[in-house]
């Protein structure tokens, strides 16, 4: 596969030398060297917060380095704007598709450099032909006149790639390009990536997925805490060592620690603290019964659209119920009222941290005490001292890495933002903690910390409901797993039954017949 073994002798097409970037006193990049050669596919790895995103933004002109140089084919250069980088042949594919949803495929590909006729007007016919030719090269069949938003995410990603490459790209930077793709779409993407590499285009590939890295990349640069800790050929670095480099932990410890950081799973014989009976809402969930005991972690399994998140929302009072009841210690909780649920001791960590959770412009302190303010204030006023006491406790206990409680929360890494969210709810002294995908989108280290925290909280008697798309997380974390099927109760796994095989079987049983068209969640039942 590696047709470009000679690439090591070539001059790097893009190089960063001793690049340093600081934000409000925090050094995001500390004298980082990075180089990629024509036809080389370089993996850029590191935990969240290691500096990958910052480095990419420096390489693409979004940020200016505080110190150090950028070199383009050996010549010193400076990208004042993203446009400068693009003109120099450095293109970027972002995690979220960064195109204009309302415009057509062809318009998106040629935006800003549309083919024009003699009098300077856009020549749409030529634009459509060119777009079709371009997409054909990569085996993508799509009507180029259709608005982008009407296409599946995978196709949108390919359009973004086609756009990037067609701008005479010499370097294509891909930032977690597969995170929203289906398996089949990933294959197409990879074949395109190989095609590009064979054309002599340099690829910088950022991903958390080890499989992908080893499949499409030949070399790797590992960042940790803003520094380069390893540069080398992937063939010489085994996976375990790569993980250990990223985490900064020794190899044997990583091997021993298993897939997740959960210790013993927590079950309990105490009477249930939360009893939810017959939770129902039209088109979403139907007759869900759940009981949770103090100190117990109950997993809620199911495929997307099975009603997992909706069940949590019903219990947390976010979603109005048509039927059914939730009781805490035998007392009924008014349905459809978040304040009532919180007063009763039910709190929820929502799935989408950015939209439903953090308030990005507020400080760490404000984000933590936000929900607890009524409890910390007297007559509508709140004392900074009371707040600080609470904030201090949780920042220490959850190991929240922030320069100070005053740091704006959007500057923290995903894992630390998630911990701030958990702190917010723990500050309410809850009895029941509902977790919706608590480790999604956060790096390996933070993931382990969150998992260990769930363990610890259950050990202290908190009742926890865990929703996760990751099978091993549900299996290793939960004492019991309730599998939902199409909005209603499916199988329940208890004790020794909670294994990956059983869960997969239950999920597979819960799945719709394979040949039926995939449905959008909450529709068309």
């Amino acid at each position: 596969m590696t047709t470009t073994t000679s690439s090591a002798d070539q001059l790097p097409v893009l190089e960063a030398r001793a690049v340093t970037k600081r934000f409000a006193g925090v050094t995001a990049l500390d004298s980082v060297d990075f180089a990629v050669r024509p036809g080389e596919s370089m993996a850029l790895m590191g935990e969240n917060g290691a500096g990958k995103s910052t480095l990419i933004k420096v390489l693409t002109g979004v940020y200016q380095p505080d110190d150090g140089d950028l070199l383009l084919s050996g010549a010193s250069t400076r990208f004042a704007w993203p446009l400068d980088a693009q003109k120099a042949g450095v293109s970027t594919i972002y995690q979220e598709v960064n195109l204009i949803p309302l415009m057509s495929v062809a318009q998106n590909i040629f935006l800003g450099r549309e083919p024009r006729n003699r009098i300077g007007l856009i020549d749409f016919r030529r634009m459509y032909t060119d777009a079709r030719t371009l997409l054909d090269t990569y085996g993508i069949e799509v009507d180029v006149r259709r608005p982008l938003r009407s296409l599946a995410l995978g196709i949108q990603q390919m359009v973004a790639l086609a756009r990037a490459v067609s701008i005479n790209a010499r370097v294509v930077i891909m930032d977690e390009p597969t995170s929203s793709l289906e398996a089949r779409e990933v294959e197409t993407l990879f074949s395109v990536v190989r095609l590009l590499r064979d054309q002599g285009i340099a690829i910088v590939y950022v991903s958390h997925r080890m499989d992908e890295i080893y499949r499409v990349c030949e070399s790797v640069t590992v960042l940790r805490d803003g520094r380069v800790v390893q540069v080398g050929s992937l063939a010489e670095i085994p996976r375990v060592e790569l993980v250990s480099l990223m985490l900064g932990r020794s190899v044997d410890r990583v091997q021993r620690s298993g897939a997740t950081a959960f210790g013993a799973t927590h079950s309990s014989d105490a009477p249930p603290v939360l009893v939810a009976a017959d939770l129902s809402r039209k088109h979403q969930i139907d007759g869900i019964d759940i009981q949770i005991r103090p100190g117990e972690v109950v997993g809620l399994g199911g495929l997307l659209g099975s009603g997992r998140s909706e069940t949590l929302k019903a219990m947390a009072g976010v979603m109005q119920l048509d039927r059914g009841s939730v009781t805490i210690d035998g007392k009924a909780v008014r349905s459809g009222s978040v304040p009532a649920a919180i007063r009763a001791g039910i709190v929820m960590l929502p799935e989408d941290r950015k939209v439903e959770g953090i308030v990005p412009n507020l400080s760490v302190r404000d984000n933590i005490v936000l929900a607890a303010l009524p409890r910390l204030s007297r007559g509508g006023f709140t004392s900074r001292r009371n707040q600080d006491a609470v904030v201090d406790v949780f920042m220490k206990r959850l190991h929240i890495k922030a320069s100070s409680p005053d740091q704006v929360v959007s500057e923290l890494s995903g894992g630390n933002q998630q911990k701030v969210m958990i702190a917010r709810w723990l500050a309410m002294n809850p009895k029941v903690l509902l977790l919706d995908e608590p480790t999604r989108g956060i790096d390996v280290g933070a993931k382990a910390e969150v998992q260990a925290l769930i363990d610890e909280l259950a050990g202290e008697g908190l009742a926890i409901v865990l929703v996760s798309s990751e099978v091993e997380e549900v299996v290793e974390g939960s004492a019991r797993v309730i599998v939902l099927r199409d909005g209603s109760m499916g199988t329940e796994l208890d004790g020794a039954e909670v294994t990956e095989q059983h869960l997969l079987a239950a999920l597979a049983g819960a799945a719709e017949p394979m040949n039926s068209a995939p449905e959008r969640p909450g529709e068309g039942r």
Binding site: K87, I100, L102, L111, L121, R149
Partner: protein, 333 residues
């Protein structure tokens, strides 16, 4: 081992796709459809409505707000708003009168366009480069420019007259049976439409409104685009004010109060999304005419007091906005 299945962003079924397309058509041409219906109903109900002189009156009265709304469409397409156009409209009229008194038609056109364009430049700079909120910047513009109008007309008591025959001719002559402002407005719609749909700059306007961050990442000159639309809007409002003054032979300092709101209404009724990214000048044309026709029909009833007229217009606007929202949701925008 992830078991999550991402839902496709595409339409689930053919019927849904069809429904979305229908909603898109309704959003784009709804104003035109309602306009035709209303004209038919009005013609049947009021014998005085479908007359040539009444129609001439409607299109002439619509031409000034239409020119303002053309500029407003560009601004709203980028996701911005320009609240200053009413004041700039008045400023344009007053300066046209002053300019023509010493410089003839050249001064009468140059002075208002240069000053109103400069208002647009300042606002555009503050929004695009100083990254201030358009609402605040142009609200300040509304107040400041209205103050400027009063300052140059001795507190509004002085109404400068236009005596220059060439400028009068520009505002009052007829081309093919319609007032010259109507011709200028139509030319504006055509030129604007070509710019918007067939030029790189126009496509950038739509792109910036569609997704500002994506446009930045795609290397589009986002700031320049945003800057330009405020300059265009200032120029359009100044030109409309000039033509209106030429039409009435006087630069009345109190005109254009609330014009920004009817311009925004017309643009939104015309199917341009208030968040930007989609819309057309043909829609804006229909929106302006629709508002004028409603006004005209209310006058035809005759028994409605002027205060009730505003209520009817307001309720109608609310219905249209609700309708637009439903259509947007149907299309999952």
């Amino acid at each position: 081992m992830s078991i999550a299945v991402e839902p496709s962003a595409g339409p689930t079924t053919v019927t849904q796709a069809r429904r979305e397309r229908l909603a898109g058509v309704l959003q784009g041409y709804g104003a035109a459809i309602v306009l035709v219906l209303l004209a038919v109903v009005g013609s049947v109900a009021f014998p005085t409505f479908p007359t040539l002189s009444n129609f001439t009156n409607i299109v002439t009265q619509s031409s000034f707000p239409l020119i303002v709304a053309i500029g407003m469409t560009f601004v709203i397409l980028t996701g911005g708003i320009d609240l200053s156009v009413g004041s700039v409209f008045a400023l344009g009229g007053v300066l046209a009168a002053y300019g023509s008194s010493w410089g003839g038609i050249v001064g009468g056109l140059l002075l208002p366009l240069v000053v109103c364009g400069t208002v647009g430049v300042v606002q555009g700079f503050l929004v695009a480069y100083a990254k201030m909120a358009p609402f605040i910047v142009t609200l300040a513009g509304l107040l400041a420019v209205r103050g400027l109008v009063l300052a140059v007309t001795s507190g509004g008591s002085n109404t400068p007259l236009i005596t220059d025959p060439a400028l009068q001719a520009l505002g009052q002559s007829h081309v093919a049976g319609v007032n010259s402002s109507v011709v200028i407005a139509i030319v504006g719609v055509i030129v604007g439409t070509v710019l918007l749909t067939r030029s790189r700059g126009g496509q950038s306007v739509l792109a910036v409104g569609g997704s500002e961050s994506a446009s930045t990442y795609m290397g589009l000159p986002v700031a320049r685009v945003k800057f330009s639309v405020y300059v265009i809007s200032g120029l359009c409002a100044g030109l409309a004010g000039t033509l209106n003054a030429a039409y009435s032979s006087s630069g009345v300092p109190t005109v254009g109060v609330g014009l920004e709101l009817s311009a925004i209404s017309a643009v939104v009724i015309g199917g341009t999304l208030l968040v930007g990214g989609r819309g057309s000048l043909i829609g804006t044309l229909a929106g302006v005419l629709l508002l004028s026709v409603i006004q005209n029909l209310i006058n035809q009833v005759g028994s409605l007091s002027s205060s009730v007229q505003s209520v009817v217009s307001g309720v109608f606007l609310a219905i249209v906005v609700i309708f637009q929202t439903v259509l947007s949701r149907t299309q999952r925008l």
